[in-house]
Amino acid sequence: MNASSHVPDGRPQSALFPRSVIAEIQRAADEGIYKIRGWGARRPLPHFDDLLMLGASMSRYPLEGYREKCGTDVVLGTRYASKPLHLDIPVTIAGMSFGSLSASAKEALGRGASETGTSTTTGDGGMTDEERGHSRLLVYQVLPSRYGMNPRDLRRADAIEVVLGQGAKPGGGGMLLGQKVGKRVAAMRDLPEGIDQRSACRHPDWTGPDDLKIKIEEIREITNWEKPIYIKVGASRTYYDVKLAVKAGADVIVVDGMQGGTGATQEVFIEHVGIPTLPAVRQAVTALQEMDMHREVQLIVSGGIRSGADVAKAIAMGADAVSIGTAALIAIGCNSPRYESDYQKMGTSWGYYDEYQAGQDPAGITTQEPELEKRLDPVRAGHQLANYLRVLTLEAQTLARACGKSHLHRLEPEDLCATTVEAAAMAGVPLAGTNWIPGSPVG
């Protein structure tokens, strides 16, 4: 293979050292520090776009579009919790912290989720009253840092998510740079104002799945065994992690693929750690099936969900629901062309803005600057999110009906094929036009 390619003007460019790599080496040499940014992986990865759905024709019987019923509801937490969550749609809002996001952004997420009958999730730093007040169904995260962690919020949550990691940085902790650690954020986290705040990568009081089982029982004791307990893992050794999460007593398992977003992480982490969402879903479903726990322990998948097609394909692969983060932020105004002049002043443009760590978001979302936050109207933004969630649901229903399914959960791997060998191997579905599933089985 010729290790060079050509740029449009005809000059040869190294495949190993294209301009982007050269620029990063030059930046590292100038600044002496690794690059930190928000967003998620930018590299191309096999994803749901590489799968296609097999609509009905002679051998399958479709349902009438936007006429015949196609259910979308899902119940989460049926294994042990006495009060499982009943969602109208299988799309939830992922955990994002107050601190990383403004209070208005958190309120908007709660409003949008509530308007469409789904849940939203707290994040590192604890629960705010605004978020609780505007979220009909709120999942409270128990994170390694335990910032803002208290039993009163555990009890006023609708479900509890024990976070082991996230797809953007499995095995990594977090950081909130000082410019976002304002007075209120600092007080909630019991830290001095303005410091670069480190979020731990390990929980302080347990070290393995046997410990975690006891920890979860403690949380259940404190909350009277009412709340569903989720375990969230960043996708890496997903097959084993899911089995251990089941053993540890999870009601629900959240698997976040490496395309999942972050508020601030080292770029080398975002792009080089973890596995894509596609194989993570397959590994998780296989693990659950082998333990006879598929559907008894519900699976939520996140990491790059953007459209109703992504929703339908994830569910067809065996997920019970999906979760969105980056897409939800875009829906409420992140990277809007409305702020193009601000983006240009920062040397970027709408569609490219990922400097969430800097706290200068012109859309008022990933900031703690009061003047910037005022730009985000949480009521309007909440409606925008609700609109987007409705579109995701309608799109997923459209595809499900075409496959003859009267509920999204009737979708199955048999409704899928892959357009690339890589995607077929990772997702465990046949290459389009064949019955060939490349690769070895999971496990």
């Binding site: 039993p151 001095p192 480190r198 009081d205 006891i214 920890k215 403690e218």
Partner: protein, 231 residues
């Protein structure tokens, strides 16, 4: 459940479950007194209490005894497993014996007294609670501790106060080594007063002037590449 003495409820874990005990404790009125017998290392005993009641446990407990305590006064006449008083918000927990690792992890308030020794990571991620260890404390005591106070009347293990924020640590015995960004600091009058009050509250006869104070050098509060060797 029996009434062994006037106004004292007695549970024997030989005949009731942790769930039954905790459910009852969560429903008690302020001022109630409870005695728990035969704990035999049971996990999650007396966790999530929310009102000022008095709980006495006669024997050894497992993980997370008194976890997330609010207001209650818990006495363990024995040893405790991992995470006694984890994330406690207020109240008091006293262990007459030894406590395993992560005692008082992320505690936001209240007082945890350990009569014997404690293992590693005591007071990890402490957020405002106070811990008094009458014996020795293991490695990484006060790791990432943010607020609150840890008092060690005996020796402290390796990596004391690693990555400390604003929490204070007082040690009477030797310190095997200090963790990243932890330094010895001057013991001023305000610290002697604070320490005296804590020792008194814990029932320790030790003199505050015999202790040394440790705190954060605050050199890692901002991420600088020149500190890379410390990370």
């Amino acid at each position: 459940m029996t009434a062994s003495a006037p106004d004292i409820l007695t549970f024997d874990l030989g005949s009731v479950t942790v769930r039954e005990i905790n459910r009852t404790l969560h429903g008690l009125a302020a001022g109630s007194s409870v005695e728990i017998l035969s704990p035999d290392g049971a996990h999650n005993l007396a966790c999530g209490l929310t009102v000022p009641i008095s709980v006495r446990i006669e024997g050894h407990t497992g993980y997370y005894c008194g976890g997330m305590n609010e207001e209650a006064d818990i006495l363990v006449n024995g040893h405790t497993g991992t995470g006694v008083g984890e994330n406690m918000m207020s109240g008091r927990i006293e262990v007459t014996g030894n406590a395993s690792q992560c005692a008082g992890a992320s505690a936001h308030g209240g007082l945890l007294v350990i009569g014997g020794d404690t293992s590693s990571r005591c007071g990890i991620s402490l957020k405002g609670g106070d811990i008094v260890v009458k014996g020795k404390a293991g490695a990484m005591t006060g790791f990432l501790a943010q607020k609150g106070t840890i008092v060690v009347c005996g020796d402290a293990g390796e990596g004391l106060g690693d990555s400390l924020y604003e929490a204070r640590i007082y040690v009477k015995g030797t310190v095997a080594s200090l963790g990243t960004d932890c330094i010895e600091k001057e013991m001023r009058e305000e610290h002697l007063i604070q320490l005296a009050a804590l020792l008194k509250a814990a029932g320790c006869p030790d003199k505050p002037t015999d202790f040394r104070r440790y705190g954060s050098a605050r050199q890692l509060y901002h991420f600088h590449v020149e500190h890379a060797a410390s990370y």
